[in-house]
């Protein structure tokens, strides 16, 4: 049943121009970002005296910054992917199809989650050419690339769960997307609040609740249990909220 809905949703994404526009734009922007980071790095090496240029790290200046930028792109791209998943169904009153079938709310949420993740992974697939370039310049660090991709994928998973929830509470796709963007920005701002707050405990809470610190640790290859727990509980909480929101049937 989950497979049936996943297949239908994924086909629906790729039957519309939206998936191709998103994949094209994402490839273009991430390509430009990567190219700029490379140019800035090589310019730095060539223009600075050797004693300074040796201190510029390719990993810091290109690899980590590139993946941080991919995360930034997700702020816009993932809400565009998740916005229609429930709000469109609510607008067209098509959810009745599922409520008459033996399918449960969580199964529907899971199927839609997987279809959104499929499209996000398709976007990320387009960036696979960049690790080849990184590999080519001699950074043959599989751990670094692996943890960077894991960080980006986990962030995407969290954003998708938030986006799905936003889509489930609004019958308007645009509002769902805006709520989702604001939600992600809020998660970032909490992290910034952690950096700015002078109270240690408050700062620690803010840092833990915000997503940025977990992302940055993973990006640098530090795979901590607390980060994994953070991501899993984040996804779980928003998925449960989505299921509850659908269960209310208040449209």
């Amino acid at each position: 049943m989950i497979w049936n809905v996943w297949k239908k949703e994924t086909e629906s994404y790729f039957a519309s121009p939206l998936a191709y526009v998103l994949i094209g734009l994402f490839s273009l922007i991430s390509g430009i970002v990567f190219f700029n980071l490379l140019v800035t790095y090589t310019d730095g090496i060539q223009t600075l005296p050797p004693e300074y240029s040796q201190q510029i790290s390719f990993v810091e200046e290109v690899v980590l910054k590139f993946f941080a930028n991919v995360n930034f792109l997700f702020l816009i791209f993932i809400p565009l992917i998740t916005m229609k998943l429930f709000s469109e169904e609510k607008r067209l009153e098509t959810l009745d199809i599922y409520w008459l079938s033996p399918m449960k709310e969580w199964q529907l949420v899971f199927a839609k989650y997987l279809s959104a993740l499929t499209l996000v992974l398709s976007l990320l697939l387009m960036t696979c050419v960049f690790p080849l370039v990184i590999w080519g310049v001699g950074i043959k660090d599989l751990n670094l690339l692996g943890s960077s991709y894991l960080a980006v994928v986990l962030n995407a998973c969290a954003y998708i769960s938030l986006g799905l929830f936003c889509s489930s509470i609004s019958g308007n796709q645009i509002i769902a997307a805006l709520l989702s963007i604001l939600g992600v920005m809020f998660l970032w701002m909490i992290s910034w609040g952690g950096h700015l707050n002078s109270n240690y405990i408050v700062a620690e809470i803010f840092t833990y609740v915000g997503i940025t610190s977990h992302f940055e640790r993973l990006l640098r290859g530090v795979l901590g249990t607390q980060d994994i727990i953070y991501y899993l509980s984040f996804i779980f909480i928003f998925s449960v909220m989505t299921v509850k929101s659908l269960g209310r049937r208040n449209w």
Partner: protein, 309 residues
């Protein structure tokens, strides 16, 4: 007759508004049950509660003797629903969409079942077209197809002929009549003549309350607002005193080519024609014609929804 659906004192409240208030009625197995009411009467809300899609605020709904709710799995696959707005994915092709719905309901022979339903609803010719590009009539047929593709024994059809052209209405109506051979149908409509043609039982709902429910003929009898008789006597004859039969009023008298015609309005709710014939003949009058006019469903419906405003 088996009651397959029992709606018992069901209410649905939204914040600041009561959509349905303490309604009760039942649907017998194998019948087409008409569900009548003006816009905003609570028909669609009731139908969605019966389908287990909307939770009730109070009361209970039993299908085949089991209580159903939005949480229960019992009624799944037992109810086919065509809501007022057919739940269609406009970016899907007809055949794929029906296969999708059939798979959701765990239909074993998906292709065979979908082909059969498309054949019966004459959808084969559009099976590879996007639903969004179809005409209103075809969309409605696809909507009906999704309601019957998993062969549910109980169908809920919310104004299925609304907005269709006359030809499509006739075709759809005939199809629904055919379905009644092996399914029980709850059918709502604004078109009263349609309900009279299709349904053997009806429930009239107004402002969230049931005004009448039962056999169509029974409701006709029960809510008859008196009886109008057209009596033709021989030329020059006058009408005897009929006050033995109850209060009456001669509303019209005219002399036709071969009879004196009287139109008489009785308050009586029972059919008094046979006694009246004997009475007139006993007075030595020539009874040329006698004809009773019973109020149409439309009259009853208007009476129900107007007098109780």
């Amino acid at each position: 007759m088996n009651k397959i659906l029992e709606v018992e004192r069901v209410s649905k409240e939204y914040p600041g508004r009561v959509a349905v208030s303490n309604i009760s009625f039942h649907v017998n197995q194998g019948s087409i049950h008409g569900f009548l009411g003006p816009n905003g009467a609570g028909k669609s809300t009731t139908m969605k509660m019966i389908a287990g899609i909307l939770p009730t605020s109070q009361g209970q709904i039993k299908l085949f003797g089991e209580t159903i709710s939005t949480d229960s799995l019992y009624h799944k696959n037992l109810i086919g629903l065509l809501p007022e707005n057919a739940p269609l994915y406009l970016d899907m092709k007809v055949e794929k969409y029906l296969q999708f719905v059939a798979k959701l309901h765990g239909v074993k022979n998906v292709k065979g079942q979908v082909d059969q339903v498309m054949e019966s609803l004459k959808l084969i010719e559009v099976k590879n077209r996007l639903i969004g590009n179809l005409s209103k009539g075809y969309k409605q047929r696809v909507g009906l197809a999704q309601a019957i593709v998993y062969d549910a024994p109980f169908l809920i059809l919310d104004e299925p002929t609304n907005g269709l052209d006359p030809q499509a209405v006739v075709e759809l109506r005939d199809f629904i009549k055919g379905l009644a051979a092996h399914k029980t149908i709850l059918f709502s409509s604004h078109i009263l003549s349609e309900v009279e043609q299709l349904c053997d039982q009806i429930t009239i709902i107004h402002k969230g309350k049931v005004r009448a429910s039962g056999d169509l003929t029974e409701i006709h009898r029960k809510f008859r607002q008196g009886l109008v008789l057209k009596i033709g006597l021989g030329i020059g004859e006058s009408l005897p005193d009929l006050s033995n039969f109850g209060k009456y009023e001669v509303t019209h008298h005219s002399t036709l080519a071969n009879e004196e015609q009287f139109i008489i309005s009785f308050v009586s709710e029972i059919d008094i024609r046979s006694e009246l014939i004997k009475f007139i003949l006993s007075h030595g009058l020539k009874l040329m014609t006698i004809q009773a006019e019973f109020p149409e469903l439309e009259d009853i419906f208007l009476h129900m929804t107007e007098t109780q405003r």
